[in-house]
Subunit: 585 residues, 2 copies
């Protein structure tokens, strides 16, 4: 326990430095990128991303563990309760939880006050009883040997410490969210977190053995979490007990919620550097990065389901990631100070602090991996490189895209021949008339492609009828309006795959006219209501997709819309104004 | 039981008439449409559609009931087993089960042979024992009073009879699937079905009370279906028992499968008349009407889940629909004969047969509704009008669509001014160069709309840089190539809703130039692989949808594609050839 508190102190000192050096928003990813290069930053990003996901699962699971300690009849519903809390947090974040801080402040203060009181009373009683106080409610008998229990307690405390340290990382990642004076406020927050945490951890470390409290297996009925046992032992299971446990649930949910602030921010930074898909960098409707939130919710939910809501086994994984991150950001700071101006006051001190931090967290990382390798740390060793590989693959794709699209200097424009315009349709009516009008005013070379799904003996007769009608209804009026008459091509288009014969025709036409653009005009009935999608067969959509996908860059596709009801542009504009108003409110 | 056999005989005679009169494909929908008008045909269609869905659920549930009678340890898995059989049947039908008949023929013959043998042996034993035979395996004790048991048995037999009668309807609906001579073969099939069914029903009716067999509640452990009890009682639970039960499962699945043949065919007929969405009339990749199959599978699956795989309660609903259908097709035939030539030989006889059929089935319908009103028949009374209302609403939509799009006589084309072309983009690169080229060769009036997501203090500087670059890289080369220089408009496009400022600009432009078409050119990186959809933000797609939806018919949208890899049209064509080859094989 003392080791953990020492580590916490070292981290506290080091992160003070980081906050001062990177007041815009420093986190391990930025610190490593600036000071250690791309690979180190990707390592940090991967470790952090994994940890954020684990943090959500572990935090919610622990919170529900506290709840089921107080209300044992809910134990059977551990997983549904976990998922419900996850859904609640996700929803709050998707809607842009601006007052998250204020919303969660009450239970946090309450929890600190309650547990502080419990610890104070407990320590008083323990000292008064000479180290062997009589619990008000006896903790359940834990059959395991004391050594094993202590080890387990240590690991749990360690995990709690890690979560708290992630809180430290969250502060350094979100410095720009503080009100000015930024650095001072961030420092104050850091101090408060670390001080409270240290006191609480030390108090529990002293009282748990004194009252004979051990950690229990959460998957068994009758599970009681350590803080719940402690509170019951010190002050009994009265109203105060329930208040303490309730605030504990809130605080643990809050620790999960911190991932929902941190993960999308981290993803945005990584996406802006081109290592994650661009949608991660896009602000959603409510000024939050919804893609990141969704991604976090789904993966954390999958973890909860996979582990049935009991995530003790994830804690070693979590610790590896956390300490890897700490080591990287400390090392980054060491590099930062080494590179910086030597003469500045306090420079050597800062360097020393971060160097000690880097070495300490580095050793901690190695110790955890070695000690917990078989218990799950090996998974992290596999997952983190896989994530890095993915990030690099994504980056390579965007690089290739950028190379192909790079700004081209002066535009190469020249007057070319007009395009060959093809109108693809299944029948002739007012909708296709509009398409003909657009096409004939675009180019003198218009080919009307009539896709028929006819077949059998009547085809020849039908074709004759169509051609006669075409001559009368289109060719004659076109000529008298001074146009070159459009050509009619009849294509047999079987069933759903109407695009195949058209693709063939375009291929042949392109081979004949390699220098000309081909513009395919598709008339389309616009679906203005959702149920209209069920009533049409989406041929226009399928045709357009196939043309874009399979034809060359010289084939452009134009949609001529037809509206059944007059379109209402006001709707879209008003909708936007309402949204803006909501955002402002 | 005698009543049911009588009804069966009447139906048999009447359907012989229908097959003869409508050798192309009769069925209640067509017969009512031709003879009784649209409303009657919709009533028939609604009743039939509901019944087809119920038939799938009831058939599969009964089949699994037979299976769990033989293997009681499977009873707990009734619902999963039902859904598995449903999935199997659906898959087989989606893949175009051409040899369904042959595939199912073996178990059908086997079942008829087995149950025939069981009945023969049973009747022989019963007569030998003077009406009170000793069962080999005693049927489980059924606590209910004999009267109630007999009533329940009657209802079950009735339901079985209904299912069989739906088989009769299926024959008349699918006459065109027979080989010539069509009418003769269809008559033979009808005769065979009715004869076999009559014999089996009478046999069970005689033996069940003789052996003291009663119907049991399928939802209880230890459930045994009536045929399973009977077989066990007559010949014991040897290998023959399992063969009989196995073939029973197959036959009941086959009866569910008949819906998968009938429902999509019916839906196609109704969709061709414009009362169902058009996709129902579209042949899928494997020459089956996949939309209808999917719809049937999903609704039947929902019913099975809702009733936990035990569908006894659905049987009254089913009976109402079935007899309503029979009544309508009989009445239709009566109208058919009344309208037909009087003098023809056998005319009076046919009329009499169908009239008796219409009256008998009409009375049966009323009796069922009255007797089973509280037990579920009232649901049918609600659902069928709702379905009719839906069908009519769909038809009204298509009628309105048709009116708006009706063939327009000679095309009204005239040489108009060239369109105003707008290029919507977020940056300038080789992709937008191609769009510029297309736009400038289309019209002298090109407006390049640059959608920026910039904001804050740097905006003005950025805009100056953009305008300077535009002058150098676009305006100058355009002018020297003899074009009018395109105009640059910078629009602040916030976040995801880039379309809103563009919609506003188009609104204003249209107000200024009410006579001109506006063509919006959108450059788009084509996604050629599925994972590319994850890596792009789909702005082009969102923009295009919004423009088509909210702007007037005078705004057309052109997509200029950009391919990261050379597109491979061969892929699409080869794919098609492979499919065609598969279809032919």
């Amino acid at each position: 326990m003392a080791v953990i508190v020492a580590l916490l102190l070292i981290l506290y000192m080091s992160y003070r430095q980081i906050v001062r050096a990177y007041p815009q928003s420093g986190g391990a990813y930025v610190v490593s990128r600036e000071n250690l290069g791309v690979n180190a930053s990707l390592l940090a990003a991967a470790a952090l991303m994994v940890d954020y996901v684990l943090n959500v699962a572990v935090g919610i699971s622990a919170g529900i563990g506290a709840l089921t300690s107080a209300v044992p009849s809910l134990h059977a519903y551990t997983l549904p309760l976990c998922l419900a809390v996850l859904a609640l947090i996700t929803l709050a974040n998707l809607r842009g939880l601006q007052d998250a801080g204020r919303f969660f402040a009450v239970p946090t203060y309450l929890f600190v006050a309650c547990l502080g009181a419990v610890l104070a009373i407990g320590i008083f009683k323990a000292i008064a009883a000479g180290g062997h106080p009589q619990p008000v409610v006896s903790p359940p008998h834990v059959p395991a040997a004391t050594a094993a229990v202590t080890l387990w307690l240590l690991i749990r405390a360690f995990a709690a410490g890690c979560t708290a340290m992630t809180g430290v990382e969250a502060v350094s990642n979100g410095v720009d969210a503080f009100k000015p004076p930024v650095v001072k406020r961030a420092h104050l927050t850091l101090t408060a977190i670390v001080a409270i945490l240290g006191v609480l951890l030390l108090g529990i470390a002293y009282l748990a053995p004194a009252y004979g409290i051990g950690a229990m297996d959460q998957s068994h009925e009758g599970y009681r979490s350590v803080p719940a046992q402690l509170t019951a032992a010190v002050i009994g299971q009265g109203a105060f007990f329930y208040v303490t446990v309730g605030s504990l649930l809130c605080v643990l949910s809050l620790s999960a919620n911190s991932s929902f602030a941190g993960f999308p921010r981290l993803c945005r930074l990584v996406a802006q550097d081109g290592f994650l898909p661009r949608p991660f960098a896009m602000v959603g409707r409510r000024l939050v990065f919804s893609v990141g939130i969704w991604y976090l919710a789904v993966t954390a939910g999958a973890l909860l389901v996979a582990f049935d809501g009991i995530t003790d086994r994830l804690i070693p994984l979590f610790a590896v990631g956390a300490f890897l991150t700490f080591t990287l950001s400390q090392s980054g700071m060491v590099a930062h100070w080494l590179r910086g101006r030597r003469g500045k006051r306090g420079h050597r001190g800062s360097l020393a602090i971060n160097a000690v931090g880097a070495v300490a967290t580095g050793i901690a990382t190695i110790v955890i991996i070695a000690a917990k390798f078989a218990e799950g740390a090996w998974i992290t060793i596999l997952v983190i490189p896989a994530v890095i590989l993915l990030l690099k693959t994504i980056h390579r794709y965007y690089e290739r895209l950028g190379e192909q699209l790079r700004e081209a200097g002066p535009v190469d424009v020249h007057r070319g021949p007009p395009p060959l315009v093809m109108i693809a349709t299944e029948g002739w009516n007012r909708l296709t008339d509009r398409a003909l009008h657009v096409a004939m005013n675009w180019s003198p070379d218009v080919i009307a492609v009539h896709l028929t799904s006819l077949g059998g003996p009547d085809t020849d007769d039908d074709q004759k009828v169509l051609r006669r009608q075409w001559a009368k209804d289109v060719e004659r009026p076109a000529k008298s309006a001074g146009f070159r008459a459009p050509k009619l091509v009849l294509l047999q288009a079987p069933f759903r795959r109407a695009h195949v014969p058209l693709l063939k025709l375009i291929e042949e036409t392109q081979a004949e006219h390699p220098d000309r653009t081909i513009a395919v005009v598709i008339p389309e009935v616009v679906k203005q209501r959702w149920w209209q999608h069920l009533l049409h067969n989406h041929r226009a959509w399928r045709l357009r997709s196939a043309l874009l996908r399979y034809c060359s860059d010289r084939v452009v596709v134009t949609t001529v819309p037809w509206h059944l009801e007059p379109p209402r542009v006001e709707e879209a504009l008003e909708d936007e104004e309402r949204r803006t108003a909501v955002r402002r409110a």
